[in-house]
């Protein structure tokens, strides 16, 4: 069973995310990057499934050259190879343009299953996986908390508002994994060394048969008008506990008429 993992490499969690005021996008150039923890969970799930059923795990991702470090991280975890869509023309893509590009790249791979994160940890729109599934013509199952494959059948426990649903689909399919589906492994030295020799295929939008008006800012349907800081909440009173802290909270609750 061949798995394509579609995930993102994002500014590292140690980096304070800044917005470029000209482009109104997240500033990414020259920033330390890492494999999105949400994508790492999808990679982990792909590895577990192929360890059980055989096959390959291919990471498909898009971004500037700074993201190579995160791609290597997925390869060090054990992914077989990677596809990197590296093209200035794709900068500024909205969810739809992103999905078109990723779907075009996935179509060039052999796959039975596409795994995504439910949402990336830097922009979290959560609708790219469903769009990719449509372009690939495969059924989408999102918010998976458990995945089991049996032949050409896939069974997923899917989070719901009141618990979880058990849903079933045929392969090929696209499954978006929710955070907490697993604990991603840390790359071991052997994996890190092996990753250096693994293939990263580079594509441009043109390689994928996409015209310039389908991708990047030109292909985007959503336009960000303004970015700004929301008004700060007026911080209230904070007191140091001198043995009466619990009582003081009770007094506050009485003051706001909760008790």
């Amino acid at each position: 069973m061949n798995v394509v993992v579609c995930g993102k490499v994002i500014p590292a969690s140690s980096v304070t995310i800044e917005i470029d005021s000209n482009t109104k996008r997240i500033a990414r150039k020259g920033v330390t990057h890492e494999l999105d923890p949400a994508a790492a969970s999808a990679v982990e799930e792909g590895l577990r499934l192929t360890e059980k059923h055989g096959g390959t795990v291919t990471l498909v991702t898009m971004g500037i050259s700074d993201i190579t470090i995160g791609i290597r991280n997925a390869l060090a975890m054990g992914a077989t190879s990677a596809v990197h869509i590296l093209d200035d023309a794709v900068a500024g893509s909205d969810t739809l343009a992103t999905a078109k590009i990723l779907a075009a790249a996935i179509k060039k791979q052999e796959f039975d299953l596409v795994l995504c994160a439910t949402e990336s940890s830097d922009s979290y729109s959560g609708i790219v996986p469903g769009q990719i599934a449509y372009f690939l013509g495969v059924p989408p199952v999102t918010f998976a908390k458990e995945i089991a494959v049996d032949g050409s059948k896939i069974t997923i426990k899917r989070q719901s508002e009141s618990g979880y649903d058990v849903v079933e689909s045929t392969l090929p399919a696209l499954v978006a994994c929710s955070s907490g589906i697993n604990e991603p492994r840390y790359p071991q030295l052997k994996g890190i060394m092996a990753a250096k020799k693994k293939e990263i295929k580079i594509y441009t939008a043109a390689d994928l048969g996409l015209s310039p008006d389908q991708v990047g800012e030109k292909g985007a349907r959503e336009k960000v008008l303004t970015v700004g800081r929301p008004p700060k909440r007026q911080a209230g009173k904070a007191v140091t506990d001198e043995g009466e802290g619990g009582k003081q909270i009770a007094d506050f609750l009485a003051e706001i008429k909760v008790i």
Partner: protein, 300 residues
């Protein structure tokens, strides 16, 4: 959403799948001047694809200015399918919006609410918006009941993702989303057992217990209790952040609470910036004392 839709224009609703008798009535009561309905079981038994197909057909037929979806599991899935199918954009996580000469301007709290953005959609035709829970106050705005039955999605190709079983995980007390009082714990709780004192506090106030991602990742409490960017969004009257530092991930799920009460031993914790009342101190002393005090005052 019906309240907001009625405010900016004429509100209509789509109701798919088997539903309670009075579902259409409830929609009309809150402002839906027309309800497109199919009670076919296909929408219940197969995920996303049948519903997206029917909604797409309705959009193409009626060409509404804006279509609103709840930020629910189902809502996001349908919108994703519609975008790809209709080659249009969508704005997710919308907190508010306005219509300006046929275009839409939406406000979105972004990047864990450390920024607020406004966005618009450039595509012609219907604008798709996915709305954050509790963005608008519901209003009673009774409309005469007008239901139009629509044909159910019948294409076999749409029956791909089969719903086999719905498992309800039992929870005690009020649900997090609906609770007027939420008591949440984070890394400062130091372990699973200590959540019991939060439960005790929540019970004393008739509230629900939540958690930060740190506590969930540590395995102390289940994911269903996680509040924040990748968890639930709550808007209670009172929110207790106990042993929670206040990472943006968490703040985005609770900062619209009416009152935020904080207990943390670190006076520099960012959560104090958002608190209405904070105690810098040991939660294992402060919380038990608060519980005692509540019991005492209730008895008095």
């Amino acid at each position: 959403m019906l309240a907001k839709a009625s405010e900016v224009g004429k509100a209509e609703a789509i109701l798919l799948g088997p539903s309670p008798e009075d579902a259409a009535q409830t929609l009309a009561k809150h402002g839906a001047s027309k309800i497109y309905r199919s009670v076919d079981a296909v929408y219940r038994d197969y995920l996303t694809l049948p519903a997206a197909d029917t909604v797409a057909a309705l959009i193409q037929k009626h060409n509404p200015a804006v279509m609103l979806f709840a930020s629910s599991y189902t809502g996001r899935d349908i919108v994703a399918n519609l975008c790809a199918r209709l080659d249009c954009g969508a704005i997710t996580d919308v907190g508010d919006f306005e219509l300006k000469d046929g275009s839409v301007e939406a406000t979105i709290p972004a990047l864990g609410a450390s920024y607020q953005n406004t966005s618009t959609l450039l595509n012609q035709g219907t604008k798709l918006l996915v709305v954050r829970p509790k963005s608008f106050e519901p209003k009673v705005n009774e409309q005469p009941l007008a239901v139009e039955e629509v044909p159910a999605a019948s294409d076999e190709a749409l029956r791909k993702v089969h719903m086999k079983e719905r498992v309800v995980v039992k929870r005690e007390g009020p649900s997090l989303e609906g609770a007027k009082i939420v008591v949440s714990g984070g890394r400062g709780l130091k372990g699973e057992e200590q959540f019991a004192i939060l439960k005790e506090l929540a019970d004393a106030l008739g509230g629900a217990v939540g958690a930060s991602r740190a506590a969930v990742d540590a395995g102390w409490v289940p994911y269903a209790m996680q509040i924040g960017q990748t968890g639930k969004t709550v808007k209670p009257d009172v929110y207790f952040a106990i042993g929670i530092s206040g990472a943006v991930q968490h703040l985005s799920g609770m900062k619209t609470a009416k009152y935020i009460i904080t207990v943390n031993k670190d006076a520099e914790a960012p959560i104090f910036q958002y608190s209405d009342f904070g105690i810098v101190g040991d939660l294992f002393k402060v919380v038990p004392q608060l519980i005692q005090e509540l019991k005492k005052r209730k008895g008095a």
